[in-house]
Symmetry: C2
Subunit: 349 residues, 2 copies
């Protein structure tokens, strides 16, 4: 199709909304590495400013500070004739962040998606929504296949995010069904790696930062709840493959690592890597916290020939090294030193 052919044109521009965030900044870098022009739109609500600084100096990168809840600024439309791809990764993604202003979270998901879908309609660009495993809520089906409809409490404190993403998916597929835009919907499971925000409240960054800094290590509940952790380079590769796959059915696609760990097992690995002997304290599980989370990635394998390549131990070592440097903390563990080799696809830092 025409967009597919245009994507390699020298003038074509890829929009990354939320491009200053954790996943967004890695995606921007990967696109720049492929020689693409990138227009990053971000309100800088939850980003690490240095992520953006590293991108700003590079040829082909442009930045517009804007909140997609508001009408898009006119400066975006200066690129309109050249926009062929729109990635929407804009939304605070960890519970403490997205619950701080739940109204804004909901509007980011719904109004934001609507504004970017309209931009896709106006420009003929292909649109990719980064949705979330949270659309499955606290799942009763395991692992989670895309056809599982979820177990989401639509009246609870996580609903601003979970239901916002579900609503955004609904809008995206309506645009697709009506022929208004060509859309892709990725459901992202837990993702980790360098350039995470140390304070974003996600489990990997929490445990690694606490272990490295020697402060108490917090486990919510008894640590038996499970998650599946996808290294950032695998996630970025999956997103790009999904965006570039032509003739997609109107279906969401899970992206995540199907290797499932309990939080206690994750902690063991973090302790082994960091040599931490900090005390572990237990706090109550948050309301509606999911007990289990593991993606069925059969659809991504079949349609995108994609599967994660980086095992947890390897990705976690790279993440610990990065956080150690970021926090100015000595690497305490021989394991961390031994694991000190670059992962080919780590984009930045």
């Amino acid at each position: 199709m025409e967009n597919g052919r245009m994507k390699n044109g020298h003038d074509s521009v890829t929009v990354v909304a939320g491009g200053a965030g954790f996943i967004g900044s890695h995606l921007c870098q990967a696109l720049l590495d492929k020689g693409q022009q990138v227009l990053c739109i971000d309100n800088l609500q939850t980003c690490r400013p240095v992520n953006l600084k590293q991108l700003k100096g590079q040829p082909g990168f442009s930045f517009i500070r804007a909140d997609i809840v508001d009408p898009l600024p006119l400066s975006v439309y200066e690129y309109a004739g050249r926009i062929t791809r729109i990635y929407n990764l804009a939304c605070a993604a960890s519970p403490p962040q997205y619950q701080a202003d739940p109204e804004h979270t909901m509007l980011t998901n719904v109004m934001g998606a609507d504004r970017l879908l309209r931009l896709a309609e106006e420009t003929g660009a292909r649109f990719l929504l980064s949705s979330t495993s949270e659309v499955y809520g606290d799942p009763e089906a395991h692992p989670q296949h895309e056809d599982y409809r979820g177990w989401v409490n639509c009246t609870g404190p996580r609903a601003c995010y979970d239901e916002g993403k579900r609503a955004a998916e609904a809008m995206a597929f309506d645009f697709a069904r009506m022929g208004r835009a060509e859309v892709r919907v990725a459901r992202l499971f837990n993702t980790y790696g360098p350039q995470m925000h140390p304070d974003d409240g996600r489990v990997v960054s929490n445990l690694v930062c606490q272990a490295l800094s020697g402060s108490d290590i917090t486990i919510y509940g008894d640590g038996s709840q499970t998650r599946s952790f996808c290294y950032i380079s695998d996630m970025v590769e999956g997103l790009i493959r999904l965006m570039e796959r032509d003739d997609m059915p109107h279906s969401p696609v899970n992206l995540g690592n199907p290797d499932e760990y309990t939080i206690s097992e994750l902690l063991e690995q973090v302790i082994a890597l960091t040599g931490s002997n900090a005390p572990v304290i237990h706090k109550p599980l948050p309301v509606d916290d999911p007990r289990r989370r593991r993606p069925d990635i059969g659809r991504a394998k079949a349609l995108l020939d994609w599967a994660p390549q980086v095992p947890l131990k390897e990705g976690l070592a790279a993440t610990c090294r990065w956080f150690a440097k970021e926090l100015g903390v000595d690497r305490r563990s021989r394991a961390l030193h031994e694991a000190d080799r670059p992962i080919a696809t780590v984009a930045l830092g």
Copy 2:
């Protein structure tokens, strides 16, 4: 609380968004009958204009034509100091109507709820969201209790409505938890009665109008799917009781009639009342059409001392009489004549 005491003040105003629609117009009439001042806000998208005309002549009734997707017009704010109650019933509610412009349906639910919640925050008014049994999707639990989280396809053609309402519930309870507004959320199950739109595509109006006019009677699927039909006067009473109940927990409340009928049983009753001998034709079930629907109304009984009073046969007779008059069709059946007595709480017509 203060709002509760103010509600009978002569100057206080109750906003009814969607007040020109089927349920909205009955609600406006019931409030006027109680001597209240009513400000109806409606975009007239799906209403019968005569519903509004009947209201307009009455003292205490005001009307502003506006779409709650857009910023509220300044004329609404002229009432701001007096607004103590806001009912949000604004949204196209039958699949053919809400699927005609799914983007608008989603934004009506999400942006509309946000604008009216902000109006509630600004005025200190109590806010009631009319949500829907559609938040349960095609339910696997039966009957549906408020704690059941639903089985909704968030990527399908009904999602603009179902997910829009789920998102609106999420926003409402976020406003409540943050102390920004006092909210009530009603989940309305199928409601029927006089002043339904003959063309809105809902099963009661479809069957009654087809039977009365002698055209082919359409049954989707084999007619074994079930619904529970609540007569309009019962629904209006439930809405008002929910709004006026003080000290509500942050919980949605089902409102509907728990008497469950298959569509074939409904058709039998319609044929018995109308004497129709029109041929019955079967069409395929729409995508994601729920197989069963019956409210658990234990919470409404406990908190509101409310339960439906009008049995289907009686409500259906009143509805058939009204449609017969509306369509200018002779009453064909002795049963319809015999049932020709007023239901005390039918508000209009």
